[in-house]
Amino acid sequence: MFAIIETPADLVKLRVDLNDRAAGGYVTFEGWVRDHNEGQQVLRLEYEAYPALANREGSRIVAEAMAKFDIINAACVHRTGLLEIGELAVWVGVTAVHRDTAFAACRYIIDEIKVRVPIWKKEYYVSGDSGWVDCEACASKK
């Protein structure tokens, strides 16, 4: 399951939906809006998605993880809109019989989501400036 969501994620429901009698390990990753980026103090973020393709590519990534790793289930949601410091931007959850594959699949999903899903973020800085953020892969090449 992958979804672009416009309101806060229901973490209790996301977790219950993944609960499975056969699962021994459950790994989650949450991306939170942090108060700084590349030396600038951040006030809030705005996420924007190209919804049709974002949902399609996000679903493809979750399906790839299910095929690649010996896991039971996986899910991912990504927020759009204005987010304050500390708010959840992205959530990934994976269940498996053993923890090894749950960790690996969770990591795979968040890594792929960040570089392949058409979502962009604009940072609003304490200085009053704002700007669209370069992609993670581009930033690491600098």
């Binding site: 991306g31 996420y47 924007e48 998605a49 190209y50 049709a52 393709l53 974002a54 399609r56 590519e57 990504h78 931007a89 992205v90 968040i110 989501i113 960040k114 570089v115 392949r116 899903v117 058409p118 979502i119 962009w120 973020k121 604009k122 669209w132 953020v133 370069d134 992609c135 993670e136 892969a137 581009c138």
Partner: protein, 79 residues
């Protein structure tokens, strides 16, 4: 041919609109982007962008058809 274009993120800011419909003789996304760039003066170049046709990732040299939805995408920055 007629194409529907959607803009997101900095491209939307620079185009000044989130969508437009254009008449063009462009046969592929590369030609179409070049035309639109002449109008909007985007700060990103073609090699920094990806393109989707009808909600699927496409190559810059794919054949365009009448009524296609074409989206040029800045580098992804989710998460």
């Amino acid at each position: 041919m007629k194409f529907k274009i959607e803009y997101y993120a900095q491209l939307r800011d620079e185009a000044g609109c989130s969508a437009e419909t254009v008449e063009s003789i462009a046969s592929c996304p590369a030609e179409l982007f070049s035309e639109l760039n002449a109008t909007h003066c985007f700060s990103l170049t073609q090699n920094q962008l990806q393109v989707a046709i009808n909600d699927s990732f496409s190559s810059w040299t794919s054949q365009l058809n009448d009524d296609d939805l074409v989206v040029f995408m800045p580098p992804m920055a989710g998460g």
